[in-house]
Amino acid sequence: MKAAAFAYHRPDAVEEAVDLLAEFGDDAKILAGGQSLVPMLAMRLTHFDNLVDISRIDELVGIDLCDGEIRIGAATPHAFVGMDDEVADSVPLLTLATPYIGHFQIRTRGTLGGAIAHADPAAEYAAVALALDAQMEAVSPRGTRDIPAKEFFTGLWENSMATDEILTAVRFPVWGARSGFAVEEFARRHGDFAIAGAAVAVELDDDSRVSRCGIGLLGLGSTPLRGSPAEEAVIGRSVDEITADEIGQLAISALAEIPADLQGSATYRAGVGATMVARAWKSATAEASNA
């Protein structure tokens, strides 16, 4: 279980890191917290001739609230995100998702940007980014661009960034005062990849009708997904007339390729997913109704 040999690069600035990626192309990989990459290297599931360690680039670490958004630097560790009071106040879905990521000894090293760029189908922050319509900031030799979350996740461990692009920050919108949030997931052992899970955000208007709803799904496809049919079905309706079971079933109704593995069949996983959405919906709407 030792990684094959590679050359190590430790740039001090994003510009320098981007130049290295441009120089090496497919032969380079970004190393941030390493909590997903290093096991894959150790098991020799993957190999790169060059690792570009971005964990010491100061400008990639930090949390800022501005213009109705929280901007989190890509190399900010999960532990920082989970403990930050400003995040808890303005984007509680991140705070609720954090304890589900691995174990605390993983969260000290793992980074928000790394988890999102790695694009594991069971990644909690990825589901949160989808549910809230977050914007990914990517930097390349051609400049900076924003990538909406819904265009970011393209396949198993694949995202829409070019090989010479670096995810530098993610901006999460702050929802209105009458909002509720919840994360539910089911794993055989705490900290394992979830069999299925859901991150639910709901916002109500003055008449307790749903004005906005985001549902991120974990473990139910080759990428993190959205429960779009459920999101669309609830808009404009009063929360009292919507049952949690209905939302759960709707959220999974359009999923095309639910994975089956030793942990369970596709049918089982779909059932767990629907239950997780239903539970999260109940908590989120209860919170929003009391807000």
Partner: protein
């Protein structure tokens, strides 16, 4: 591949070496520093036996390359007891409460529990189980370990008075 010079403070002592980038921090500690208390079980971040403190934070030393620890302060299980060999409250409690049998996983537990109690001096049963979910023990069934965390928390509270 091109080697990198690293300087790491280990248990308060400066160490330095030239290392291949692929050398993990765990192997650096065991093979270059001779500190074999840090155990390697799975070598891919699942078992927690290799847990050490890096700049005070509990991390998997198998999921970190030694080059990434350059300039950092590392504490291993060898640095937990006092200089004269007196066991720390966590170590004493593990012995007292039968929190170990074969002892292979124990260094990882000692380090994780030390970090856990520093951040949360009086954890509930649930918080202890959550905090230790990243460490495997194949002997004890965990009851003794959970009891030991409670015991160490009590002793710490008495010491702090």
């Amino acid at each position: 591949m091109h080697e990198w010079p690293v300087q790491v403070s280990v248990n308060g002592r400066p160490t330095q070496a030239s290392v291949e980038p692929r050398l993990t921090l765990a192997d650096y500690l065991r093979e270059r520093c001779g500190l074999t208390g840090t155990h390697l079980g799975c070598e891919h971040g699942a078992c927690g036996a290799c847990t050490v403190l890096v700049d005070g934070q509990a991390v998997r030393s198998c999921l970190m390359f030694a080059v990434q620890a350059d300039g950092c302060e590392v504490t291993t299980v060898e640095g937990i007891a006092s200089e004269d060999g007196e066991l720390s409250p966590v170590q004493s409690a593990l012995r007292e409460c039968h929190g170990l049998q074969c002892g292979f996983c124990t260094p990882g537990f000692v380090v994780s529990i030390t970090a856990l109690l520093r951040d949360n001096p009086k954890p509930t049963d649930e918080e202890i189980r959550e905090g230790l979910s990243g460490n495997f023990c194949r002997c004890t069934g965990y009851q003794g370990i959970v009891n030991a965390v409670h015991r160490a928390a009590e002793v710490n509270a008495e010491v702090l008075g």
